[in-house]
Amino acid sequence: MNFDLDQDQLDAAAGAKQFFGGQASPAQARAALEDGPVAPGRKALADIGFTGITVAESAGGAGGSLLDLAVVAEQAGAVLAGPSLVTAARAAVLLADQPELAAALADGSRAFCVVDGSTPALDAVGADTFLALVDGALVVGGGDVVTGRPMDATRGLGVVTLTDPQVLVPDAARLWARARDVALVALAAEDLGTAGKAVEVGVAYAKERHAFGRAIGSYQAVKHSLVDAWVGVEQLRSLVWWAAWAADAAPDELPLAAAAAKAFAAETLERAAETCIQVHGGIGFTWEHDAHLYWRRAKVDRLLLGDAAEHTDVVAGLVLAGALA
């Protein structure tokens, strides 16, 4: 039993933290709501190698595991970075047997977006290469993207109409399912980072802000709600690690672990973000404060790739089918 990150992963997390800390921030997520650029952007992510973490070395990637990607995604989530590593993780699975396209994912020469029917797709804004499942086949093509007023501009959501789709893999249902599970894990990892940051920001404020003669973090109402949020984050971390580990080491466990992680991530991030606002009192719901940017991420991410009810039902189905036996 060794359920912990190894030194390489710890180092990767530290490096990612430094990179994202310099390249993205809630302030940029706020600016993106008023038509600023999404940070760090596709090019920077490719240049540092993050879009290729799970792309095979032969295709110019790092040939890493999903867990390697998850520790980086957590750091991306902490600063509300965009585009999402979810897209990279998912595309890397889909393009495992397409060396040229995989190389374009790793080096950033193409901007990918993975499309689920008419559901708004992550990172559709600015994408030039769209992957989709059409009649059981994996296709690639261009796309027309229709966007709304974004709730969280870093997610680049848009409704995509595929143009000129070409079949890449004719019988791709299983590949698509695995890629989607991998996407769930990467999304849960980003949410883990965002939720952890929201709690951290809330804790820091609760130590500093005084009311009635003492720090508000000394009051049980504030203290206990931060604790509950923190406990949720740590429980989520365990599910994310398990699911990411399973993707490579125990693929049979992936569907259960991925669904559990996504369902738990949705509720954990929502609670962490709402707690962050509530702890801050008045300034917590101002535009200039970061709290609402975590909250926006929470309100969007909980619905992406299926909501908690959907994944809870998947978990129930798998458990009933003997997944734990």
Binding site: V146, R149, M151, L157, G213, R214, G282, F285, H292, W295
Partner: protein, 414 residues
């Protein structure tokens, strides 16, 4: 027990309805969630609306006649409120003046102040705001740091207020200041009427997380207030403020009104969206709609109990805090059920092709982004629970170290 009007109330209601019909052309009408295009024009229209209503005897219904009111009952006031809502006339622009500032001026002001302010307040010739909260003193209001220093016949005010609703259109405000930092925090406060157009007053709208600006920051730089504009004695400001806060309790959510979108709105949205869902999602959506409806109905009928108590002559007690607490929880259930019914559109602040943001989706999203604020504004959930726990259930307060210490020696100044 009945929900019907008494014959007197029915007659009064009929008269109100007639008056509203008669003056309809001079009143603003607005649907819930609808916003005006031009704020300045809207302000003028709202001022005119209140003036017309005041001249028709529909403003200050329960105020005493000597202060320009109609000397009516709180039940009559509630009837006017219901009929205005029914006629889609929005809240009075001077609702803070009428609900909080006016009663404070009445209770603590001089005859000269009554004469100078009350009639104009009722007709919205002057709009009022309440300048209490500060960046470093929200829940702990008595920790405020805005100072007023005596200088001849004037006081000189310096400091910053925040969360000031309507400050950007206000002519006057009631302003709580610290005049004696050597006394314990509650003991060194003094209340004034401040002219919002005086030199040194700067109002800056405060943008909320949803993007809109319902509140302002107000800065005071060497603002001079004549001593004749003091409300109550120097050092008695806390007692004066308690009058305001008592009146605020009625105004903020204690009456069982929906604090977000109504359950009727949710029912309409659900009626539209539910049939398009797969069967198993319908089951879950119906649970969400049903739970929200139960919570909203429980809060609504609890509000009727409080209105009954008030109309029988009771004062709004600390249990009104329960109304805001439960109303906030209900509003969140309603909002979440609604947003989830939007389906794919729920990930956008306004869905594709929904440019104006005024249709269904945008309205539910604006509501969702407003709700984190209602658990904070007008008393955080935590403070409300303390109030109920201590004043209704009689549970002991927490130890306080800051209460009797001179303000300038206390941790409260942090």
């Amino acid at each position: 027990m009945d929900f019907d009007d008494t014959p007197d109330e029915a007659a009064y209601r009929a008269r109100v309805r007639d008056l509203l019909a008669e003056h309809a052309a001079d009143l603003v009408h607005l649907d819930a969630g609808e916003e005006a295009a031009d704020p300045r024009e809207q302000e003028q229209a709202l001022r005119r609306t209140q003036r017309v209503l005041a001249d028709a005897g529909l403003v200050g219904v329960a105020w005493a006649a000597e202060h320009g009111g109609q000397a009516g009952s709180l039940a009559q006031q509630a009837i006017v409120g219901q009929e205005l809502a029914r006629a889609r006339v929005p809240s009075l622009i001077n609702h803070i003046g009428i609900g909080m500032c006016g009663p404070t001026v009445i209770a603590h002001g001089t005859p000269e102040q009554h004469e100078k302010y009350l009639a104009r307040l009722l007709r919205a010739e002057d709009v009022w705001c309440q300048l209490f909260s500060e960046p470093a003193s929200g829940s702990d209001l008595a920790a405020l740091r805005t100072t007023a220093v005596r200088d001849g016949e004037d006081w000189v005010v310096n400091g910053q207020k925040v969360w000031t609703t309507l400050a950007h259109v206000s002519d006057f405000g009631i302003l709580l200041t610290r005049t004696d930092p050597d006394r314990p925090k509650h003991g060194g406060l003094t209340m004034f009427v401040v002219d919002m157009h005086a030199p040194g007053v700067t109002v800056r709208p405060l943008r909320q997380m949803g993007g809109q600006s319902d509140f302002n920051e107000v800065f005071f730089d060497d603002v001079r207030i004549p001593d004749s504009e003091r409300l109550g004695e120097p050092g008695e400001g806390w007692r004066v403020a308690l009058t305001t806060l008592l009146n605020e309790r009625v105004a903020v959510g204690g009456g069982g009104n929906d604090l977000g979108l109504s359950i009727e709105s949710l029912a309409r949205l659900a009626g539209e969206k539910l049939p398009g869902l797969p069967a198993e999602r319908q089951v879950l959506a119906r649970q969400a709609v049903g739970r929200a409806a139960v919570a909203a109905l429980a809060n609504r009928y609890t509000g009727y109990r409080r209105l009954t108590a008030i109309s029988q002559g009771g004062l709004p007690g600390p249990e009104a805090s329960a109304g805001k607490l439960a109303g906030t929880a209900a509003a969140k259930l309603v909002a979440d059920a609604g947003v989830r019914l939007l389906g794919d559109d729920a990930v956008f602040a306004a869905a594709p092709g929904d440019g104006s943001g005024e249709d269904g989706a945008g309205r539910w999203q604006r509501n969702q982004a407003w709700l984190p604020g209602i658990a904070i504004a007008g008393g955080t959930d935590e403070v409300l629970r303390n109030i109920i726990g201590e004043r209704v259930l009689g549970l002991p307060p927490e130890p306080r170290e800051d209460k009797h210490r001179p303000f300038n020696a206390s941790g409260s100044t942090r």
